[in-house]
Amino acid sequence: MNPRSRLLLFILAVSLSCWMVLGQSRGGNWPTFGGDAQRSGWAAADALINRDTIKDMQLLWKLKLETQSRGTRPIMPPVILGRLISYRGFRELAFVATNADIVYSLDADLGTVFWTKHLEYSTRDPQVMTSSWRCPGGLTAMPTMPVAARGGAPGRGAPPPGQRGSAFIGGPAGVYAISSDGRLHRLNTSTGDDVTQPVSVIPANARPSSLILIDNVIYTVTSHGCSNAPNAVWAIDLSIDPIKVRSYRLDGSSGWGLGGSAIGSDGTVYVRTEERLLALSPRELQLKNSWVLRETRKEDIALGEISPAPSPVVLSYENRDVLVSDCGTDQLCLFDSMSPAGSGSATPMYKTPPIAQPARNASGIAERGVWGSLTSWQEMDGTRWVLASVLGPPHADLKVPVTNGSTPNGFVVAFKVLEREGKRVLEPAWISRDLHSPLPPVVTNGVVFALSAGEFTRQVQKTTDELFTLDERPRGSTRATLYALDGRTGKELYSSKNLVTVPAALTGLTVASGRVYFGGADGSFYAFGMWMER
């Protein structure tokens, strides 16, 4: 190891230990889907979870929350506020939204409800009471708290110079949620009260994806054209009073990865649509760049809305963002954020072999492929990893040095980001054990948490090409199982076995302060983690 590497390693180690002390002190945050603006799914350090301690993981608590029978996503992953000095004490809170337009604040240490907020439906448009797989109705967007820009502080509480700022910013941090009536709420973290009058920001009964608040702008992506709402990227600018909402239409092409948009280090908003990866300017949402992921085929259009396209993830290399996205053909691609703009034909830096075995016919399309979002983490020695959750068996062309048994139902695949001949590549490293409908994994301290959701992903009847009904779908479901995997090998380090009795909500995982959280399809909410003596 050369002196520079040693120095870098030392700095990294010191930073990590400081972070761990901080984490141990009063809890880490997980302010949005994936934990950060890049949607990495990585909690850089956790004082309690590591490869040695993971064997002690246990079900710490579970709660039954109020949800509605509206499909497979009744509970969003929680936003974690590691430390709130509240009038009721120091609290680590998990803010969990359910499709019943309720935001719960759960005491993450005690497993109790801290407060409950029903987001009243209040708009002229009538509330949609019907539900379909594409448009389940109800609250669909994971809430957000201010997210740190890369290397910076969390979303600053003051508007840009010269601007007055709306009532949605400033003062103690709030948690932001969009109710099914399309109104933005800023909730007091201590009480759940609306800090300011909710404001209509998107069409009612739309299907917005996970929110992200950065530099006083909240981004979300609407998909599936629910209630005739446009499929679009939305920027809700809180730094202007009244708040200003801008949108970028996706021209009928949905971008419905679980994470919605990922944000680059310069604030660029990256969104994956059916065919393209878009780069939009922050706040204004002007198209900066686009990469074609695949050519649109006529036969895809009908099923396009059920194709499981994942959200991209942003990696940072030498002051430059590198994007990882699926390429529409169950391959992962690396894109240089600085590649020539505008043409829509920019080519990827690298493309992996196909990952997932393709569906034999259209009816199986929802059961195959990379979905949800991508994950990325970095080891102390600088090794960068990219992980993808995959439905169905691996593609025959995917050669992986380490496997962990056959994977007929699904798996997590891990790649190392390496430099070969001056070019960055994704080298397959391992495939996990078999997983049913795996959710996008989350990572901390070299431990990968993969959730076998146990959900029956088939959305199209094999015989009739009709969508399953709400009632039919759960019958094929199995129970969820949480696994902890070695980040370097994919080896199973922990399994929740039969502790979870229902399928998981297909919304995502959160990891923070020694705990992993997810929701169940029946409205139950689970916290696994390391026990702390009280």
């Binding site: 141990q24 009063r26 509240s86 009038y87 004490g89 007091n188 009480t191 009280r534």
Partner: protein, 521 residues
């Protein structure tokens, strides 16, 4: 003849009693009554269970001490017989946060002398309106033993970090000042042991370190010795308690425990002067320290050191609201995390960092049957699962709880006996002659608010504070024997009770010192 002889005998006995009462009187020379911080006045003969209901305000005096933040008057010190220019007197020594010292005639409340320490404003101070760092004189002084002529030396740590030595009878400086701390560092009550003075600091006020301090008065160089616990702040209300081996024990407040990096936060450290250094000798860290740290449930209660069946022990508590019984010879055992016994949670079911939990110091006394009692004050509601045989109604704001220390087949345990009536923020009680004197400070302790979170500001809290109330309780049952009702008109922040020679003292935020006693005495 017989009648005459009987009369002479009676006169001699009466005279003897009277003379002994004058010549031999009780003191309260240091915060917590003694270096062990027991809060037990063992020499009280005037007040008792039978007459304490007749307590009245004998006098009160408004002192010209300006409060700083929420601090005003520190606990009073008392010496029963002090040679003064006006003859021997019982003297109350009263310190005020604005660097004021008053010597007051205990018999009538007249000020015998007063002194104010003047110094240029320190370059650094606490944040404006921060109740944690008031600046000024924050350490209760301590009074040394009697010199051959009966004179007593008062040790006072001024707000500029200068240790003064004053003659209690006259207020005259008896020695040059000694540098002992930093300006506006927040020092806690001084303790004097074998001519070594100890104090502790916390809250990093004015950027100063949180540590234990000692100075050997016999050392010609007056070297300042410190031990830094690496984490936390030492804010036990009465500073350090000292055991029979000279180890000073102090809680380390809110911090982390990590042996490799020598961090001893959220525990209790014991340090002793050896070879001109203040050296760590032992420590105790609760096994759930990480939980305490996460929830800001500091170990911040000055322990009380006492003897039980010939064995020295100590007891402390925390905002978490449980007690820990420890052996000073091996606090926490081999792993430093195993107490002799603990109690269940007494209060703080909400797991809150403010307005609930045990704050300040402990109290312990032994009755005539040899029963060892341990008392703890607490704030907030009692824990719903805490069971105590005798109680006096619902506790919502605070109370005093009493335990008996019992040896059950070789295992020591703290058995709850009684819990007092509700008190508005119960403060550390003192015990004398079978009577517990307790008080609710009436202080607003709110640090965080629903609408804006943490906002710990003195003006807000002062405006929301109420008034202190003094109670006398039967020490064996907790039954209320006396209440001052609303006679005290202001609150008290981090003050304390003192008792000697039939008089109970309490100072309040408005710089009024109250003396309660029996009018006929």
């Amino acid at each position: 003849m017989n009648r005459t002889l009987w009369g002479i005998k009676a006169c001699v006995v009466t005279l003897g009693i009277a003379l002994s009462a004058v010549a031999w009187s009780a003191d309260w020379p240091t915060d917590g009554a003694n270096p062990q911080r027991t809060n037990w006045q063992q020499d009280e003969t005037i007040l008792n269970k039978q007459n304490v209901a007749n307590l009245k305000i004998l006098w009160k005096v408004k002192l010209d001490n300006a409060p700083k933040q929420m601090h005003s008057l520190l606990p009073s010190l008392i010496v029963g017989r002090v040679p003064t220019p006006g003859g021997p007197k019982e003297v109350v020594l009263q310190a005020g946060v604005s660097d004021n010292i008053y010597a007051i005639d205990a018999s009538n409340g007249e000020i015998l002398w007063k002194k104010r320490f003047e110094y240029p404003p320190p370059a650094r101070s606490g944040r404006p309106t921060d109740p944690l760092c008031p600046g000024g004189l924050t350490a209760t002084p301590t009074i040394g033993p009697a010199h051959p002529n009966g004179a007593r030396t008062v040790y006072v740590l001024a707000g500029n970090g200068a240790l003064h030595q004053l003659d209690l009878g006259t207020g005259n400086e008896t020695a040059p000042t000694i540098p002992f701390g930093y300006p506006n560092g927040k020092s806690y009550a001084l303790n004097l042991w074998n001519n070594v003075i100890f104090t502790t600091t916390s809250q990093g006020c004015a950027g100063n370190p949180n540590q234990m301090w000692a100075i050997d008065l016999n050392d010609p160089q007056k070297k300042v010795m410190t031990f830094h616990p690496g984490s936390g702040g030492l804010w036990g209300r009465t500073g350090a308690a000292i055991d029979s081996s000279g180890i000073a024990w102090a809680p380390t407040g809110d911090g982390t425990y990590d042996l490799p990096t020598k961090r001893y936060g959220n525990g209790l450290i014991g340090a002793r002067v050896e070879g001109g250094e203040l050296k760590l000798k032992d420590w105790y860290i609760p096994s759930n320290w990480a939980w305490l740290f996460k929830k800001d449930l500091d170990m911040q209660v000055t322990p009380a050191v006492f003897t039980y069946k010939g064995r020295e022990l100590m007891v402390t508590g925390s905002k978490e609201c449980r007690l820990y019984l420890l052996d000073p010879k091996s606090a926490g055992g081999e792993n430093h995390q195993t107490p002799l016994t603990t109690t269940p949670l007494i209060c703080n079911e909400e797991v809150n960092f403010a307005s609930t939990g045990i704050w300040g110091s402990m109290t312990t006394w032994e009755d005539s049957r040899g029963t060892r009692w341990i008392l703890a004050p607490f704030w907030g509601p009692s824990h719903s699962e805490f069971k105590v045989p005798v109680s006096y109604g619902r506790v919502t704001q605070g109370a005093v709880v009493a335990f008996k220390l019992e040896d059950k087949s070789g295992k020591l345990q703290l058995t709850p006996v009684w819990m007092s009536r509700d008190m508005d923020h119960a403060e550390p009680p003192v015990v004398a002659n079978g009577v517990v004197y307790a008080y609710g400070s009436g202080e607003d302790t709110t640090q965080a608010y629903p609408d804006r979170g943490l906002d710990n500001q003195s003006p807000l809290r002062i405006a929301a504070s109420r008034h202190a109330t003094l109670y006398a309780l039967d020490a064996e049952t907790g039954k209320e024997l006396y209440s001052s009702g609303d006679q005290i008109t202001s609150f008290n922040h981090f003050g304390g009770l003192s008792i000697a020679n039939g008089k109970v003292y309490i100072g309040t935020f408005d710089s009024v010192l109250y003396c309660f006693g029996l009018p006929s005495k």
